[in-house]
Symmetry: C2
Subunit: 387 residues, 2 copies
């Protein structure tokens, strides 16, 4: 089978993440979509939208067409909501990639939107628990934080990792977010702040966790023929999805995320890139432990060396490989179904040299990583600057 060429990125858009009580889902979508469409100078032929909780929290299904209709940024087009819990944004990007590569559509908008802050936090916790196994995990009270606490405890024990190394990941993310106008938490913190913050599910403390917030991100993908004079031109060179059991108790190890490794292998293979070629990497650090695991499972460092990689400064913007130079989920924020698209947009802007104070020097190859559930569904996408 001969498939089409890799799609290129013609426009991107982001909203500031936070408590956006005055804005509807359509308003948030409109803000990000307008930037992407105006930059591209063309309208999309279809929309692929990542979202997890609008049915439960906002009483709105049929969400993709609904936000498009409410936003009126471009004429109505076929609209697909794609859902895979916190990796919904990444999954929407995979669907958009296939839509262009198959030749079915010449230009599509990939977006993600989520609105979490309007509801009481117990409603949000319940809604997010629907990403876990409803009958066998959520029913017994296993929240996402407690499931991630199991992973953090197991990892620290298996690889003899000091707690402070994980705290340092939070410190770096907050430092990076100081330069990010879209970030939810723009406030420097110290290791002591992390370790004195409220205990949520031992050993996870409040400052190990990404905040919940509202936001939207968008990216216009098109076939290369539509890129007239765009320079630098960034292409989506490969995507990969990896999976594992929904319930954490079904896995043989609690100190790695095999779904990430599977997704990375597929994406790097499709893109013809090796993890060592990366100049910038956006990982899904919903909890500090997830950042340490991600750089290992993606293949940047060997098993057990992830936290050390951060500890040694290798993940800083001028380090061996810049990881989350915009602050990651931890400080930039985690508007669930939009998070994967944020990561993708951040990589693209780095490769375009548009990241301002957050810019990683000479970034030509980058990847984003997006997780759904407690490591059950992972998406990796590799972008390259075209020569």
């Amino acid at each position: 089978m001969s498939a089409g060429e890799n799609p290129v990125v013609l426009g991107t858009g982001l909203t500031k993440i936070g408590r956006r009580w005055e804005d509807s889902l359509s308003d948030l979508f409109a803000e990000a979509a307008r930037q992407a469409v105006e930059e591209a100078g063309i309208n999309p032929q279809a929309l692929f939208l990542g979202n997890m909780s609008a049915g439960v929290l906002d009483s709105q299904e049929h969400l993709a067409l609904s936000v498009e209709d409410g936003a009126s940024v471009f004429p109505l087009v076929p609209a697909f909501k794609v859902e895979s819990a916190c990796s919904s944004g990444g999954s929407a990007l995979v669907a958009g990639y296939m839509a262009v590569k198959s030749g079915v559509y010449d230009a599509v908008l990939v977006a993600g939107v989520e609105k979490l802050s309007e509801e009481p936090s117990d409603a949000v916790t319940s809604a997010l628990a629907m990403a876990a196994d409803s009958d066998f995990e959520a029913y017994y009270g296993a929240s996402f934080t407690s499931l991630n606490a199991l992973l953090m405890r197991s990892y620290m024990r298996d690889y003899d990792v000091p707690r402070s190394w994980l705290s340092e990941i939070a410190v770096l993310m907050h430092k990076n977010a100081l330069d990010n106008p879209y970030a939810q938490l723009r406030k420097a913190i110290t290791v002591e702040d992390v370790e004195n913050s409220r205990l949520i599910a031992d050993p996870i403390r409040l400052l190990d966790c990404a905040p919940t917030g509202d936001g939207a991100a968008a990216l216009l993908l098109a076939k290369p023929e539509l890129a007239k004079g765009v320079d630098p031109l960034v292409e989506l060179s490969g995507v990969g999805v990896g999976v594992d059991t929904i319930a954490v108790n079904g896995r043989s190890s609690l100190s790695d995320v095999p779904a990430t490794a599977r997704a990375a292998k597929a994406a790097f293979s499709a893109a013809g890139v090796d993890p060592k070629d990366l100049d910038v990497l956006e990982v899904h650090d919903a909890f500090t432990i997830m950042a340490a695991l991600a750089v290992e499972d993606i293949g940047v460092v060997p098993k057990g060396q992830g936290a050390k990689f951060f500890h040694e400064g290798s993940a800083e913007r001028d380090g061996d490989l810049a990881v989350n130079p915009e602050g990651g989920l931890k400080a930039r924020g985690h508007p669930v179904g939009a998070t994967g698209v944020y990561g993708a947009v951040e990589v693209v802007r780095q490769l375009q040299g548009k990241s301002g104070k957050m810019q990683v020097p000479n970034a030509e190859v980058g990847a984003f990583h997006n997780l759904g559930g407690s490591g059950s569904h992972a998406v990796v996408g590799v972008f390259k600057r075209r020569k």
Copy 2:
């Protein structure tokens, strides 16, 4: 851009639709998926699942991976839930088509599943109203039945259509479903039964409406090289999606569904087929009025002639064009997110000559139609028997 070949169908599966209280979403999915995968003789590399209401009614998001994990029919693969209200199944099929045609996956399972009967009917009505505009329609009490009643009244007035012609559509669907082992309502009815049934939203009566029920459908799509000795071999020759405003009050006419016309045009163009070439057609008759409108908007008959087409017997199995020979949503049943996949499977089995007593003679070209919202999102897919 050169795109890949059209995917072919290697296996199909259906469950009986009804009150399946003893079966979980995973159980229903497993029943349909097992048939499709066993018939195909190969495992899928990804799952595209249509579903609308599992978050709201079953407290389970991350649904695609969840049902796959619970069902254990094949090794875990990347899993995408695709949602566009009642057209979620059709949208999942479009995504599966792009997945194979893009070359990203060689074989995918497209499925739909919905479980509606376990909750009280007011919870189900509220959940389904989330396909309408939550802020501007549902808020004011406009249910799907009342919105469709507007269309039925407008159509009867604009084209001077007798009520009995619409009642006859229900009668034909119930007659067809008598032969369908998967149908929810296997009971012959008369025009008098329809017109004496309970008034729901004038002029719609109970027997104008499709029932709500639980069910699942599945179809394995693959690149043609994987079809070893399959005869007859059916391909998915083209898909199309058309859209319109979410809110019915945003439209210029209440007597047609332009989204259907747009979807049909795109699908027939991609497939290189004309509506007059069709041997069998499955339309989305959630209400009798929708069947009349569908045959017009798809281009089988001119505007205003749809109800007459049924009245004259042209839609019967041995008529000019068999429409819903398995009973349609009206009598086969309407498990929302699975409905589009039921229609697709029914077309495929007709083209394979496997429809038993429901068989349409010499069926070589067929199409299915799937609607989301009150005519706001339409999917059409065209299948052909390969020579």
